[in-house]
Symmetry: C2
Subunit: 323 residues, 2 copies
Amino acid sequence: MYRKEIKVLDCTIRDGGLINNYQFSEDFVKAVYGAVCDSGVDFVELGKKLVVSEEYPTSVYGPWNFCDDELLKKIVDSHPNGHRPTLAVMFDVGRVDINSLKDKKDSPVDMIRTACYVPQIDKGLDLVKRCKDKGYLTTLNIMAVSAAIESDLMGALEQLRDVKELDYLYLVDSFGAFYSEQITYYLNLYSKYFPREKLGFHGHNNQQLGFSNTQQAIIDGVNMLDATINGIGRGAGNCCLELLLGFLKNPKFDVRPIYKVIQNEFHPLRNEIEWGYNDIYGISGILNQHPREAMKFRANKEKKDNCFDFYESVTRQDINTIE
Amino acid sequence: MYRKEIKVLDCTIRDGGLINNYQFSEDFVKAVYGAVCDSGVDFVELGKKLVVSEEYPTSVYGPWNFCDDELLKKIVDSHPNGHRPTLAVMFDVGRVDINSLKDKKDSPVDMIRTACYVPQIDKGLDLVKRCKDKGYLTTLNIMAVSAAIESDLMGALEQLRDVKELDYLYLVDSFGAFYSEQITYYLNLYSKYFPREKLGFHGHNNQQLGFSNTQQAIIDGVNMLDATINGIGRGAGNCCLELLLGFLKNPKFDVRPIYKVIQNEFHPLRNEIEWGYNDIYGISGILNQHPREAMKFRANKEKKDNCFDFYESVTRQDINTIE
């Protein structure tokens, strides 16, 4: 597949940080950043830019939850030559301080991606506009749409119609619940409100569909694609960057630095933290559930592979508690 | 997805046997057979039916490479009540003795699936006709079509046109190299020669596309789908039966017996043999290569995760040896 308009965004540190409280070492982040630079990937997201507080201290929540400008500069300066991806961080509605955000011209950050749920669309949109006022590229990533009531989603999308401050609007499959025809369905819905060529896609791999759904988004005309190295990310993780680059035949991409950093950094990391598809996340995806139950189940070392027990517990729970 | 014509074939023992020389214990096969029965799956393939010889003794190549009728009867009789899937075995061109095959009425086997490469299509077709003469349901599974010259493939398909002895013709993605649009392309090609409603699909999971490609085959009108429990199978394995049943909304299927046998039998088995997606098989799939190099690489316990080294070795090898 080749289409020159296609852009790839590596969100390895940002989505991967969700499984280790953003405690990656500086050396690890430098290795990731260097590999992404060398691979020719267009964008890199190095974490969230939340506000530090007594409730959320850096010591517990990790440096990449807060992405101090000085820290980001150290990472960027560690790889001064060659291709430099556009640098992104993520905003979570309700946990950021827009007033302390510097203007783009005074910051190493180029793009701010705002994540929100459907009911938070007003707040998300407000952040998008304020970020644009300060000179940033902007995205809005509407999470968990597979669990949203469709008329609510359409109401949210209506608010985004012709919003000139929004550079990219993301379809996000937070629960890893979608398959290809649903990707097409939702992208068609989104494109009624927002230009298709400015849509993005962020998938999860609960049903081993993270990569294929990203391919489907490409087929459906999406030009902005999220992926992570080795698929690292919350729960079942994301679309693997190395598979996506192998699929995209654009000669500007080189997959070898990605395989190198996998071999040197990610393979050892698997001894410390777990990510990727397994039966438990598969069940979670099929049932269109938030991954928190599955992640809790996986945390029990003795029982984490008891997929039948998990299936029974989550399906029977539904029967008992929903009326 | 619901379409009443859709049939599922479990080939857990047959494809899984490729990674342990068909050395599954009788108890394991009984557990698989019982789970498949209880899940309502339509077909089950319990191995190959090759000819025993001095060169290929049962002691080395395992009982499920030869599927003696008495052995099959023991398995079938171990689960006498409830739904009974149609029982299949596989023929490999050149390694079977058609004359020793009993008539269907005297055998526990219902269906014989003949596997062949494109250049073997004459021999494969001859076996299909002879099996039909003896009263069996038949399939022809053309392997490795992603590596076949297309005009050769079309010549092979031409020979299959209107062959009434052939009940199902399979598109097989032996190298796990295809993605959705290629599945559609090849199915359209096949359907020019053979009725679409009698096509089957057998995928591999090298690029995490085993399940999604099976979904694409369904979307494209294929009604006969192969899958294995927990995706067990050569190299990166196959489409996971549990994911497929979760996707198919037919109430005749019950996924719970499959999760039960995974929890009780397949999870412990992972301590003995390896299957499923990893970086090495991903590279093999992207490069449309036979998995043998990848499997050889995985056999080296110390270096099996060195994906960069593998990528370099297989791509440089190509440069050096092809003119």
